[in-house]
Symmetry: C2
Subunit: 245 residues, 2 copies
């Protein structure tokens, strides 16, 4: 009998073309589906809570898959980890209700974007942080971030110019913390548009380096025009931390 399994997955996205499967390219979903196809003897659709961009990481992506197996939850986890490459890990496998759907049932997501503006390049974290060429002012970025919280139309921060559906989203909180040379931007919201967090960070960094006053972010939001926002920050600093259900 087929059962629905909820999976929590961590990955280092450095060498992948993002979450979503693509022919002839390494993707996270593609790797997971390949392993499950071997385990189950048939193609298994792995549904992720969202699609992370090429080069973006995850500490706890959630996915689900409906499949038939006589393995226990731990046995599925161990099987997958044995055959997955060493930059993808299945942290947990749990049997879920048949109605559980990793994307439709997600009610919130936490992402962290990490930058580094210290004088010496970070060696061991180099694949997980975006290095800035000059120091940024965290207090100014915090002032700007306040304008970006709440229920808003984030069209100015959407990476897809052909987006037909609503670009209204709810961003509950944007926290910005500094610890030594590292700056951590933590976003929590119900959902995010394509490239949205990277464009938000790219814009906040413009404020942080003094190229834009904090208040200007409010105008950018209201203009609903991608051209007014900052550049899309590089993918390597971004990590999906948690999906809420």
């Amino acid at each position: 009998m087929k059962k629905n399994y909820k999976m929590t997955i961590a990955y280092d996205g450095t060498r992948y073309y993002g979450w979503e499967h693509q022919p002839d390219r390494d993707t996270i979903q593609g790797k997971l589906e390949s392993v499950l196809e071997i385990m189950c003897g048939e193609f298994i659709d792995v549904i992720g809570a969202g699609r992370t961009d090429a080069g973006v990481h995850a500490k706890a992506m959630t996915a689900n898959a409906v499949m038939e197996t006589n393995k226990s939850e731990e046995e599925i986890r161990d099987y997958m980890n044995r055959y997955l490459p060493d930059d993808i890990a299945v942290l947990e496998v749990r049997e879920a209700s048949e109605r559980f759907h990793a994307r439709y049932k997600a009610v919130g997501k936490t992402y962290c974007y990490t930058c580094y503006d210290g004088p010496v390049k970070p060696i061991f974290q180099r694949k997980y942080v975006t290095r800035l060429s000059s120091p940024v002012d965290v207090e100014k970025m915090r002032q700007a971030a306040v304008y970006l919280e709440g229920r808003n139309d984030y069209k100015s921060f959407c990476g897809n110019p052909k987006m037909k559906k609503s670009t209204v989203r709810v961003v509950d909180s944007i926290e910005i913390k500094r610890s030594k040379g590292y700056i951590y931007f933590t976003f929590h919201g119900t959902g995010f548009l394509q490239n949205m967090i990277r464009i938000l960070v790219g814009t906040l960094l413009e404020v942080g380096r003094g190229a834009m006053p904090p208040e200007q972010v409010k105008d950018i939001l209201e203009a609903r025009d991608r051209k007014l926002a900052g550049p899309t920050a590089p993918p390597e600093g971004l990590c999906l931390i948690k999906v809420d259900y």
Copy 2:
């Protein structure tokens, strides 16, 4: 006028053939010397506190180099970091007494060896830990480690079978800590023989997995016979933490 500079260097040793320069192979010393040769217009000898093996990392290796430059300490550091690959960083450059010698003046070293025995492979730390195939008993390894502290002849733990000089060393302390799935072995001593820490860890892991009683380590030490000790643990778990002067 030539001056003597003390340098603190961090590196991810994954893709290097160790510290010491070798023709046609990437090494840490080789990379540092190449950059300084361009900076100074002549070959500069970089003297390290010790030679780490291929694949071993450092959070703070100390080195010194005698050279003539009109750059300030920070300018030397920034120049080196700009031209070094992204897995080697110069943390600090300080003018030192002309008598300072990174190897001869070193009076102590701290190394940390990190293992992981949790059920799920560690994704983000994978290049800096040695993953164990089954859980180990930390308490037993601590009992065994006590026999390995002090002033002893460590011939059984020396990776160089042709070692002619004294194999007597002082190991002040071996601390073993567990935090979740990670096991941290911290060694402090006046100096270590070739592969010594990796063989000590390889032997302690034999105790940890129950293949050897803790007391047997005492016999191995006294026998002065490499064949009786455990295997040489892999390089990726080892990191030079600090050099004392």
